[in-house]
């Protein structure tokens, strides 16, 4: 790894007082004390998560009829939420895997939280396809298990079955990736613990991590292998989710552009959700030095890129609908833009295509408040994108006699807001008990990309030492290192 970085490149760890000890202190601190704000937030989101469970119970107890669906619209908020959450769950893997392979140092500040977010988002996502089943008690039918029902097997032609495989694979690999990355940091927490039980628990969590060279070497290899495994998954999972729609005959769903369009949208929404969370986390846990404006700017660049891809996809869809000369398709898109659900389309367009374009301007890209606001916009826009695709296409499909309209019931709303609560609740628990920023990884860039290191280096350069000082040990900073 390059040990030298230009001074003109913005540091990724701010603060001239930083050293390895300080980093450990700063990053482990949130796990060692409770703040009132955290307690309040956890209780609130916990209540929301409980309501989510209540709504699920209500659904199973009384039936899917408690949702706003009807004979024409068989999927609405359920699958919208599913695709939305799965999309959000894409940032973690992308940051961990692809950015690792591309050696993007800025990922170290955000990868842990992003991966955690992925896990929680996939948990939320998974709830919807499971509980949207009319007979959830028969859900095991969906697994290709040997059975006593004769040669009764699952239907391998069905994209829903592909989903089962895609999502369970994605979840397992993401979980593995996240957890293996956590082990050295659990070791660090353990080593700092004074309480016997805390020590014991974190030791268990760390799988007895010792931090010797062999372990580090294996750790790095595992990270690389998992990154290699994850990279195709980033592309495949949302591709397969998009097949749910692309392989159907419903106009507005049956579109070959869906796989790349969905993947771009997923990364788009994933980064937006990472931003939303990180902006809050860095404030709550005083991590501004580690999640810097530079991190945010980098992410905003990805957002403007993926947002533009999504925008082009929207326009391409419209163009192709016109160009195809196919009446059903033309109507589907006309209806999407000007029909009963025009407002959903307007939300989608403005939040996904128009507002992210503001990030072409550097001051905006680096403005923390605008970023927070726009990241929420993107998440709203991406939710509407899925809603628009699913509901407007179904609401007015081939036979006009059956056209209908969807409006949510309190159970629909409860499940959606409840899943957000569940997500935040899990994230808050994570931030309290696990290191939100990968300590070991941040330390690995400390001597290259930190403000302190750069200042030290500048001092050395100024003193006429010259040359690749970065290669040498930067004496004073190593003083406290363990």
């Amino acid at each position: 790894m390059h040990a030298y970085e230009s001074e003109f490149r913005e540091p990724l760890i701010n603060g001239l007082d930083k050293n390895y000890t300080k980093i450990t202190d700063d990053l482990v601190r949130p796990t060692e004390r409770i703040t009132t704000l955290w307690v309040i937030a956890t209780l609130l989101t916990g209540a929301g998560a409980a309501f989510f469970v209540f709504c699920l119970t209500w659904t199973v107890w009384f039936g899917i009829g408690t949702w706003g669906l009807n004979k024409t619209i068989g999927w609405a908020w359920d699958i919208t939420n599913f695709v939305w959450w799965i999309g959000i769950g894409h940032a973690g893997t992308l940051i961990s895997a692809i950015l690792l392979l591309f050696r993007q140092r800025y990922r170290t500040g955000i990868n842990r939280a992003a991966e955690a977010m992925t896990i929680f988002a996939v948990i939320c996502a998974g709830m919807f396809p499971i509980f949207h089943m009319g007979r959830v008690w028969d859900a095991p039918f969906i697994f290709p298990l040997p059975n006593t029902r004769g040669p009764l097997w699952v239907n391998f032609n069905s994209p829903l079955l592909w989903d089962v495989f895609a999502i369970s694979t994605y979840f397992s690999v993401s979980l593995l990736f996240w957890y293996s990355g956590l082990m050295p940091d659990f070791g660090t927490i353990r080593d700092r613990s004074k309480n016997k039980w805390r020590k014991w628990i974190y030791n268990m969590l760390a799988f007895g991590w010792q931090g010797n060279a062999k372990q580090w070497q294996r750790f790095e290899s595992l990270a690389l292998v998992l990154a290699g495994l994850c990279t195709p998954l980033v592309l495949s999972v949302h591709t397969i989710v998009s097949f749910d729609f692309a392989t159907s005959v419903v106009s507005g769903w049956h579109t070959t552009i869906f796989p790349p369009y969905f993947v771009a949208g997923a990364i788009f929404s994933g980064f937006a959700m990472v931003e939303t969370l990180m902006v809050i986390t860095r404030y709550l846990f005083k991590l501004e030095d580690y999640i810097t404006i530079a991190h945010i700017e980098s992410m905003n660049k990805i957002i403007v890129l993926t947002g533009s891809i999504v925008g082009i996809a929207y326009l391409t869809e419209l163009f192709i609908a016109w160009y195809s000369g196919y009446g059903y398709e033309q109507f589907a898109f006309y209806n999407r833009v000007f029909g009963k659900y025009w407002w959903a389309y307007a939300w989608m367009m403005s939040c996904n295509v128009i507002t992210p374009q503001l990030y072409w301007f550097k001051p905006i890209r680096r403005n923390i408040y605008v970023t927070f606001l726009l990241s929420i916009f993107v998440n709203i826009g991406m939710w509407f994108e899925r809603f628009v695709i699913i509901v407007t296409s179904l609401a007015a499909d081939n036979l006009p006699s059956s056209w209908s309209y969807f409006s949510p019931t309190w159970v629909d709303i409860g499940l959606f807001t409840g899943s957000i609560s569940l997500f935040l609740f899990l994230f808050l628990l994570f931030a309290r008990f696990f290191p939100t920023i990968a300590i070991a990884e941040v330390k690995s860039i400390f001597r290259i990309s930190s403000e302190a290191a750069k200042a030290e280096r500048a001092k050395l350069e100024g003193s006429g030492t010259g040359g690749f000082v970065g290669l040498q040990a930067v004496g004073p900073l190593d003083k406290d290192a363990k």
Binding site: W61, I142, N157, L161, V164, S248, V249, F338, L399, W403
Partner: protein, 1041 residues
């Protein structure tokens, strides 16, 4: 070198017998396992270990067996099996459905002694209805199991025995110091009439009086015939012979006079083919749109007053005068162009209108050809004066006792005050078989049995005698009306014997078919349920002296009606309200408005737009603005629903809704408007001058289809979508593929790389003729009954969750003032390339080797993906436990049915569940369901053919295209159809009817360009009119985007 052999001892070396036995075995002793199985423990050879093993095994096995919960099945085997009943095999009994003017020749399907389905009788034994059925006849089987049925005689609210009832009522009737009146709707049963006469005679002198009152009145027509022909009868109308049909406000395909008969006859001349490309011309002049009007070649929407004016104009032209309005003059010319082969029918109950109608038909020479006197109807005999006479009589004390049979005048009377007047009577008795307003107001209820439990006869048209036979023994302690009459008349013997005696002395001699002994004749009559004898005197000389006066009376009536007019009409489902407690009929969408569970004010969408009504009630809530309609100082508030084709300033409201005395609140929907019928010339007229004003209220209506869609001429209108196709007769004659020209191209484009399904046996297919489908909905109700389709109630229908496997889609084209309409029955198209099949993750829906798209309920996990991917939207999801198929609620001791409506819950009653077809699975919550092409009937039909060791018999047609006999297999919708619009059979049989129709030039598949390759084809609608083109583009109405 030879191998050395070592041996341990001499036994081994010599291979002695004892050694061999031991050496081959692993254990030297006999193992005890076999012995413990082969020899009982009691022989003592088993040891203690075996005993313990067996004990252990049996205890474990018993524990496992006992702990597995086994459902308790309450089935009781026959100890003495009735001769006719084989469990699992259906029996069919020929019978006759009749209720308040509705007549239908039917077969009753029973399973293990329970009637579960009504079918049309074979056409040779159904001379009037020709094998067709109506929604009401189909649904009547549900009323047998109605929770509101009276279970025993009652005095007020107190249950009493028949002995007590007979004694008390008999005494009071004798003691009554005034007239005893039997108040009934038209009775077609000659034996019942005879029994009534016996009863009347028994009271002595002229104490007894029988008043006949039809709540849906034809009194004007009867009186007009009395005046012009001297016969207070309604002649036979023969639509089959009419080349030009003009109907002025008569919904003869839906509700008017004898709709099942007329539908069949009408269809005869609407069924076109290459061989017979002529078709009748149908002109409808009407105010409130009806399904008949929607089927017309030319529909003239006018105000109710203008209906009368049009009639006067036609009369004038036909009788040599001139028309005020050339529009009607032209129509008259068309009639005159087909003298003797034309028909004018008028729906009005105004005597003068009917006199003019008679005059026109007479001038056209239609009497003797399209209208004949040989077989007049007995189904309508009532007089509107009956109700006023009754109320007056009760009030002035001349009537002291009143008996109500098949009549609910407390609800249906246009004149108020009957309930109060009844209190003045010494005794009032209702024979109603279930709760209604009149029986609730009577001092006694002597419940009649349901027609499916009764013996009866009937003469719907003169000389056509029918028998009703019981298909089940009485469910409750009821007694049929005929028996009661005989008992009260002091006669010995049962009503059944009485009918037989009547037939022996009055009918046996008149018929010519059976010359053997009476018993042979009777057996045949019961089997066929129909006997034909000579009709009535066919002569009828027209006396037109009153016509001119009638015409001027009509003109003055018309001019008195003002600008805003209302017409009260009979709903095809609910009738006069008798059927309001039948959930199947409540949930049947009205053919015209597609609204269920309610009545409402039909209005013109244009008028609504101008007057600030939202013609586009939001899709979500389906909220309609409520208006206050005032007629003669009385007013009613009802939601306003726009129906294209309604003229501005015309409003329509259905009768029969707003029942009060019904078992649950959901059946009370709507408002009763019988009180709005106005009295005129001794009769009641259903048109009136009205005022209407908007209120601030809104009301939700459960509409299943909305016509308020986006107008997208260039973007996927109906024509682009290839949903319905139509042409005009002239073009059809030139090219049988007219209107369907694009099919060739579509078929050419149907190229696939995938394998096609192989159907070694039959390939079930259906063809639906859009030209003969009238949209009546008999098929929908038949499907409900056959396939246990759940009732979901008003709220669920409003949420677009109706469960009907078969629906009738209605499409408009043209202008909102006067649109053309296409009715299209829509059911699972059983696609050969089914989009639903490949998306199911658990393969719960798959393709059969006979071309069926099958649904495996117990495999379904309810992802609804199949329904999303179905382009026809015919899949239905069980959002709740609509059928109470789950046992969760019982098991958990709680009620998870809470979201279900009262109507749905009423269908869960054990009594009502007796109507379920045991051959069809009751679907539980969370599974998808859809049309199966009545697979249970297909299997039964195949078995029938197999037993006979023959090939499957196809349906047989008569020369004229009507069905002579259905084959081994038929679907419920097919047999229910009064116009034989549905053809079904095996397409692999190249000789089959369905094969020929499937390959007809008119045949097209709905949205076939999606490459679904459906097994259902539709035949183009052909309209008999001159315009070169139907319309440039068929599309939807909507003024807003």
């Amino acid at each position: 070198m030879a191998e050395k052999i070592y041996w341990k001892g001499i036994e081994e070396k010599e291979q002695l017998e004892g050694y061999k036995q031991v050496a081959d075995k692993e254990f030297s002793e006999e193992l005890p396992v076999l012995s413990s199985i082969t020899e009982p423990i009691s022989t003592g050879k088993s040891n203690r270990r075996d005993f313990l093993k067996m004990l252990g095994f049996s205890v474990t096995a018993a524990t496992i067996a006992a702990s597995c919960e086994m459902p308790v099945r309450k089935s009781i085997p026959y100890i003495w099996r009735p001769e006719e009943i084989a469990p699992g095999i259906a029996n069919y009994y020929a019978s006759t459905f009749y209720q308040n003017g509705d007549y239908c020749a039917v077969l009753v399907k029973t399973r293990e002694g329970r009637p579960i389905k009504i079918e049309g009788r074979e056409s040779k034994n159904a001379r009037v209805t020709k094998g067709g059925t109506s929604p009401r006849a189909q649904a009547s089987v549900l009323s047998l199991y109605d929770g509101g049925r009276y279970r025993n005689p009652m005095r007020g609210k107190e249950n009493i025995t028949w002995e007590k009832a007979d004694a008390e009522i008999g005494e009071k009737l004798k003691a009554a110091n005034g007239k005893v009146v039997l108040f009934s709707s038209s009775i077609i049963s000659p034996s019942t009439n005879a029994a009534i006469a016996e009863f009347g005679k028994s009271l002595g002198g002229d104490k007894f009086q029988h008043l006949v009152y039809d709540s849906i009145s034809y009194s004007g027509m009867l009186d007009a015939n009395d005046k012009t022909f001297g016969k207070r009868l309604i002649p036979s109308y023969n639509f089959a012979k009419a080349k030009v049909i003009v109907s002025i406000g008569a919904d003869f395909l839906g509700t008017w006079l004898s709709p099942v008969e007329f539908s069949a006859d009408y269809a005869l001349n609407r069924r076109v083919s290459k061989e017979k490309s002529d078709m009748s011309r149908h002109i409808q002049i009407e105010a409130v749109p009806t399904m008949t009007g929607y089927k017309a070649d030319k529909r003239v929407p006018v105000k109710p007053s203008e209906e009368l004016a049009a009639l006067v104009d036609i009369y004038n032209v036909v009788t040599g005068g001139s028309a005020k309005n050339e529009k009607y003059g032209k129509i008259a010319q068309e009639l005159m162009g087909a003298k003797g082969e034309s028909l004018l029918v008028v729906g009005s109950n105004d005597v003068n209108a009917q006199i003019l109608a008679n005059a026109v038909n007479n001038a056209l020479g239609n009497y003797g050809t399209t209208i004949t006197w040989d077989r007049p109807y007995n189904t309508k005999q009532g007089s509107d004066k009956a109700i006023t006479n009754l109320i007056e009589g009760l009030n002035n004390g001349s009537i002291k006792a009143v008996l109500f049979y098949e009549s609910n005048p407390v609800f249906t009377s246009p004149v108020k005050g009957l309930a109060e007047a009844l209190k003045k009577a010494d005794v009032s008795v209702s024979f109603a078989n279930r709760l209604d307003e009149t029986s609730a107001a009577c001092s006694y209820v002597a419940p009649d049995s349901h027609w499916l439990e009764s013996w009866n006869d009937g003469e719907p048209k003169a000389g056509i005698f029918n028998l009703t036979q019981p298909a089940i023994s009485k469910l409750f302690d009821t007694r049929q009306f005929g028996d009661t009459m005989l008992r009260w008349a002091g006669k010995e013997g049962s009503y059944y014997d009485y009918i037989q005696q009547y037939w022996e002395s009055n009918i046996y001699g008149k018929q010519k078919e059976y010359t053997a002994a009476f018993w042979a004749f009777w057996d045949n009559a019961v089997r066929d349920a129909e006997v034909e004898t000579a009709g009535a005197d066919s002569k009828g000389s027209f006396n037109g002296s009153g016509a001119a006066d009638a015409a001027s009376a009509l003109v003055s009536t018309a001019s008195s009606l003002g600008d805003v007019q209302v017409k009260f009409y009979e709903s095809i489902a609910i009738g006069d309200g008798y059927w309001a407690d039948n959930p199947w009929l409540q949930e049947l969408p009205d053919p015209v408005s597609k609204i269920t569970w309610d009545n409402y004010i039909i209005a013109s969408p244009i008028w609504m737009n101008k007057n600030g009504y939202n013609i586009d009630p939001d899709f979500k809530e389906k909220r309609y603005a409520v208006a206050k309609l005032t007629v003669n100082g009385q007013s009613v508030e009802l939601p306003v629903a726009g129906v294209p084709g309604t003229p501005e300033g015309v409003f329509g409201v259905a009768l029969g809704y707003g029942r009060e005395a019904v078992v649950n609140d959901e059946l009370k929907n709507g408002k009763n408007v019988f009180g709005f019928l106005t009295s005129k010339d001794g009769g009641f007229t259903n048109i009136a001058k009205a005022t209407i004003e908007k209120t601030d209220k809104t009301e939700q209506l459960a509409i299943t289809q909305t016509h308020f869609n986006i107008r997208l001429k260039d973007l996927g209108g109906v024509k682009t979508r290839k949903v319905v196709k139509e042409t005009i007769l002239k073009d059809y004659k030139k090219d049988p593929a007219a209107g369907n020209e694009d099919r060739k191209e579509i078929l050419e484009e149907l190229v696939t790389l995938y394998y096609k399904h192989d159907y070694p046996g039959p390939n079930w297919s259906m063809v639906i003729d859009l030209n003969t489908c009238t949209g009546c909905g008999a098929c929908v109700v038949a499907c409900n009954a056959e396939n246990n389709v759940p009732v979901v109630g008003k709220d669920q229908v409003r949420r677009s969750r109706e469960m009907h496997w078969l629906r009738i889609d209605r499409y408009y084209t043209g202008t909102e003032e006067n649109p053309d309409v296409v009715f299209q029955p829509m059911l699972c198209q059983q696609c050969n390339n089914a989009p639903c099949e490949n998306v199911c993750p658990v393969a719960a829906t798959n393709h059969s080797s006979e071309g069926l798209n099958q649904m495996v309920y117990n495999r379904c996990i309810g992802t609804r993906y199949c329904a999303n991917n179905c382009p026809y939207k015919v899949r239905r999801f069980n959002w709740y436990d609509y059928q109470q198929a789950d046992s969760f609620d019982k098991k958990w001791g709680t009620d998870n049915n809470r979201p279900l409506s009262e109507a749905t819950l009423s269908m869960h009653e054990p009594l009502t569940r007796m109507v379920l077809n045991p051959d069809v699975t009751v679907r539980c919550r969370g599974v998808m369901e859809k049309c199966s092409f009545c697979v249970q009937r297909l299997q039964a039909g195949k078995l029938e053919a197999k037993k006979g060791n023959r090939v499957l018999a196809d349906m047989e047609l008569n020369e004229d295209g009507t069905v002579r006999k259905f084959g081994d297999v038929s679907t419920a919708c097919q047999t229910a159809c009064p116009t034989n619009a549905i053809t079904f059979g095996d397409r692999n049989n190249k000789e089959s009817v369905v094969y020929k129709k499937f390959n007809d030039e008119r045949a097209f598949g709905v949205i076939e360009d999606l490459h679904t390759m459906p097994n259902i084809m539709y035949l183009t609608q052909v309209r008999n009119r001159d315009e070169e083109k139907v319309y440039e583009v068929l599309d939807y109405y909507h003024d807003k985007v």
